[in-house]
């Protein structure tokens, strides 16, 4: 059984976007802070820090995770995908293009989380309808766009994938 005492600093090793990384963490270090300050993946944004905003959403062992509500010590040996990993995924080029054309982002703060969720969602919903896309987006707060652009971009991308 792994035990980490209060205040003790341990090494956490995991794969991020297919490559091995390691860094130091206390038991109470949040995964979001570990990704940013130890592994320097600054694309994971930190918003509300209680699981509501969605900007810190990443993919952890195939599941979506709020990295602010996950402890760094929990990801020992895990596979993580962050926005930096999604950025090099060529399949998502058309999605990024659709996001720009439809005005699905403005300041970009929420976008890393939205793209992590969207990429996970589209693997499970190959032909989503608007209601399903809006339901998925309800897990993200965006104060710029009003979400309509995101909905249009995601639906257009999903239709294109089927063709």
């Amino acid at each position: 059984m792994r035990r980490v005492a209060p205040g003790e600093r341990v090494r956490v090793s995991c794969n991020v976007n297919g490559k091995p990384y390691g860094g130091g963490a206390e038991s109470r270090t949040l995964l979001s802070d570990f990704l940013r300050h130890e592994l320097h993946f600054y694309g994971t944004h930190v918003g509300c820090e209680h699981g509501v905003g969605g900007a810190c959403t990443i993919i952890l062992d195939g599941r979506l995770a709020r990295s602010c509500s996950t402890l760094a010590v929990q990801v020992e040996g895990a596979e993580l995908t962050t926005i930096e990993g999604l950025a090099t995924d060529e399949r998502l080029d058309r999605l990024r293009d659709a996001f720009s054309r439809h005005g699905a982002l403005q300041c970009g703060f929420c976008t890393p989380g939205v793209l992590a969720s969207t990429s996970h969602f589209l693997k499970h919903y190959l032909n989503p309808d608007e209601a399903q896309v809006r339901d998925m987006l309800s897990g993200h707060l965006c104060r710029c766009t009003g979400y309509d652009g995101m909905v249009r971009a995601i639906l257009e991308f999903a239709e294109g994938e089927i063709e």
Partner: protein, 282 residues
């Protein structure tokens, strides 16, 4: 918004986890999906000495049929139940409720056991379990016991779980073929905690109906009525909703007044009861 220091333990077996709870009691908190506990830790609403991470206990991640119940282990994620063919047939009320639990993102890691152990007054999973008259399995070094959900929930974030016990599974009574269900909730924004949630089921028994109606978010734990009754759909729905709100003492907070909650409780209550009765086929 960072947790206070604590000791982190990741047991590899249930016995190890229960030994920790036996040693630390109320000073230890169990973390499954982390969607409730993570927020409480970050906001320092809780400052446990020990966090017991049960994500390594794969034996708790199983859905299985046990006699007339579906047993859902404490580590089963909400998203797993939503894609389970067995659950969609046997537990349609739970499925309807789960679609309202948090968001697509939080359901990916969030567990049913965690939600029940956390016992938020407006949470859908406790409401559905209580309305179906299901049971909670509690394990400790002393043994395993099953307790009715309606006795387990004692108040807001307060349950009958002892300090050395862990919620290890939930028992969900299977709704037979032809059972009707209804679920509705009102909240400010999709995925938010419900101001009022209502759940109902109904099954024909000869010329009568066996029914359950439950309300969440109204008092500090689910309010449930189970009965066998006769009458038309309209009569039963109105009578059950009226009975349920007759001695209700609704919460009164900045989100909604007690009066508004009582109003919603009646309207949602009779609406879901009507849906359930209409869905109950001969």
């Amino acid at each position: 918004m960072k947790p206070a220091p604590f000791e982190y333990c990741r047991p590899e077996t249930l016995d190890e986890a229960l030994a920790l709870l036996s040693e630390f009691g109320d000073e230890a908190l169990v973390m499954a999906g982390g969607l409730s506990l993570g927020a409480l830790l970050n906001m320092r609403m809780v400052r446990p000495e020990v966090v017991v991470d049960i994500n390594g206990l794969e034996t708790l991640a199983q859905i299985e049929r046990v006699k007339d119940d579906i047993r859902i282990g404490a580590l089963v994620r909400q998203a797993d139940v939503l894609v389970s063919a067995e659950c969609s047939v046997a537990l349609p009320l739970l499925i309807a409720g789960l679609h309202n639990v948090g968001h697509y993102q939080t359901r990916s890691r969030g567990t049913l056991g965690g939600s029940v152990a956390h016992a938020d007054p407006s949470a859908e999973t406790p409401l559905c379990l209580a309305t179906l008259d299901g049971e909670v399995e509690l394990s400790s070094k002393r043994g395993v016991r099953r307790i009715a959900a309606n006795e387990f929930f004692e108040g807001a974030l307060t349950t009958a779980r002892e300090g050395d016990e862990m919620v290890t599974a939930l028992y969900w009574p299977i709704l037979g073929e032809g059972t009707g269900i209804g679920f509705e909730e009102i909240n400010e924004r999709r995925g938010d905690f419900a101001i009022v949630a209502a759940a109902a089921w109904a099954r024909r028994e000869g010329g009568a109906f066996r029914c359950g109606l439950g309300l969440g978010g109204v008092e500090d734990c689910p309010v449930v009525q189970l009965e066998s009754t006769e009458g038309t759909t309209e009569e039963i729905a109105e009578r059950m909703a009226n009975q349920l709100i007759s001695d209700l003492e609704p919460l009164d907070d900045r989100r909604a007044s007690a009066e508004y909650r009582r109003h919603l409780a009646y309207h949602l209550g009779q609406k879901v009861m009507r849906h359930a009765l209409e869905g109950a086929v001969r």
